[in-house]
Amino acid sequence: MEAGVASWVSWVCVIAYLVLGPFVGMLISGIDRKVTARMQGRVGPPILQPWYDVKKLFSKDKSAVNNVIDLYVATALGMAVVAGALFFAGGNLLIVIFLMSLSSVFVVVSAYSARSPYSDAGAQRENLTVMAYEPIMLLLPVAMYLITGSFNVDSTIVQDLPLIVGAPLFFLAYLFVMPAKLRKSPFDLSTSHHAHQELVKGLTTDMSGHTLAIMEIMDWYEVVLIYGIVGMFLVTSAWWSWILAIVVMVVCFLLEALVDNTFARVKWKVTLATSWVVTLVFCALNMAFLYFL
């Protein structure tokens, strides 16, 4: 009976993610732009602005710099969607992380395929960004295994204590590198949402129209997954833990917006050094703590 219910629930979660995921992601990025504008004392765009942007991009004339860039970007989207679906189905976190990495690899490859100096610079910087956030992403399943004895995301739901009690420093390290994953300041060196940077649209320089629209949709799916991982640290078998998870996600979201608005872009060496030092120190301490208890 357990297995039957579990598989039924996970199918519902998967379908909800596939259908509602981009919608929620779009709202998150719309609210993000609004919050950012308010922090700067502006009125800001409507909350549905990302939706208008993507619709407009699809109505632009079709053109691409080469024959393969669309394929690469679409594959990246596919990987990101499968990763998210697997996560919300309560599947294996290791595979989720690997699929996310594969998705970013395809984004990098698509930028390289454009063969223009700006895309190249953006792709190289995206590589460095991936290197910055990948250690903590790979250590997340380790933390999960040490605590729950399983790599499955749904193993957290049957626990009495949330993951964050056993892995608080893992959580903080994840929070620290989240701007890199979201391509936000201070770790937005590969591409940015604001003009007047030294490299404005590195990664996406040569993507136009529908190619860029697919990138945006991928961002919507990814942002839901990224905040989903935040929620994973909080949920337990108790019903109120879901409310707690949502509250913590909102707090993290506001914190991200604040950090994005208060920090300038840092150099790649600083990106790598700070994220690795924070990841290694925090995770080593946390792991030692888990082993000796």
Binding site: G41, V43, G44, Y52, D53, K55, S59, A195, K201, S208
Partner: protein, 176 residues
């Protein structure tokens, strides 16, 4: 209004402006005027942009640059000449190196006057540009989008500089 009009992305190019108009263009994106409430984003990338804002006149050096930026933009696209210099050459019109306004190289859809242009005029010009963008989007959808008519700039294009007409200089110049 469809989503094309709700999300006009801008790329700004400074021809040989005195910088007066550029500062006003930037002023339009500050919190006081906040053009992002209309969905306007200053992209800094012609391949993403719908609207090209040109400030300053066109000279022999920047002709290929203006042409390339225009060609890299995807249809539907709109060009707005910001300030007297971009409209006609302004006070630099008779300089030895000045070819004229932006319209000697690319078809201009909206002429926004002023020396320097005021941020309010820029916003008005962008709103006007959005209307034209809408028409062009519909035309693109119905496959009736036509090459813009450049005959009204013919007198500027007939001006002779160094033994060549402006039109010849514009069509012969390329980057590299």
């Amino acid at each position: 209004m469809s989503s094309t009009g709700k999300s006009p992305w801008i790329v700004h190019y400074d021809g040989s402006s005195c910088n007066g108009c550029d500062i006003e263009v930037l002023a339009a994106t500050t919190p006081l005027y906040d053009v992002e409430r209309f969905g306007v984003v200053n992209t800094g990338n012609p391949k993403h942009a719908d609207i090209l804002l040109i400030t300053g006149s066109v000279n022999e050096q920047n002709v290929p640059v203006v042409k390339q930026i225009y060609e890299q933009m995807m249809e539907p696209k709109v060009v707005i000449a910001c300030g007297a210099c971009a409209c006609s050459g302004g006070i630099f019109r008779d300089c030895y190196n000045t070819l004229g306004g932006a319209d000697v190289v690319v078809p201009v859809d909206v002429y926004a006057p002023g020396c320097a242009i005021r941020p309010e005029t820029i916003i008005d010009a962008v709103v006007k540009g959005i209307e034209i963008l809408e028409q062009k989007r519909k035309a693109l959808k119905n496959k009736t989008l036509v090459e813009p008519d450049v005959s009204r700039m013919q007198s500027a294009r007939d001006k002779v500089v160094d033994g060549q007409t402006v039109a010849e200089i514009a069509s012969n110049s390329t980057l590299e």
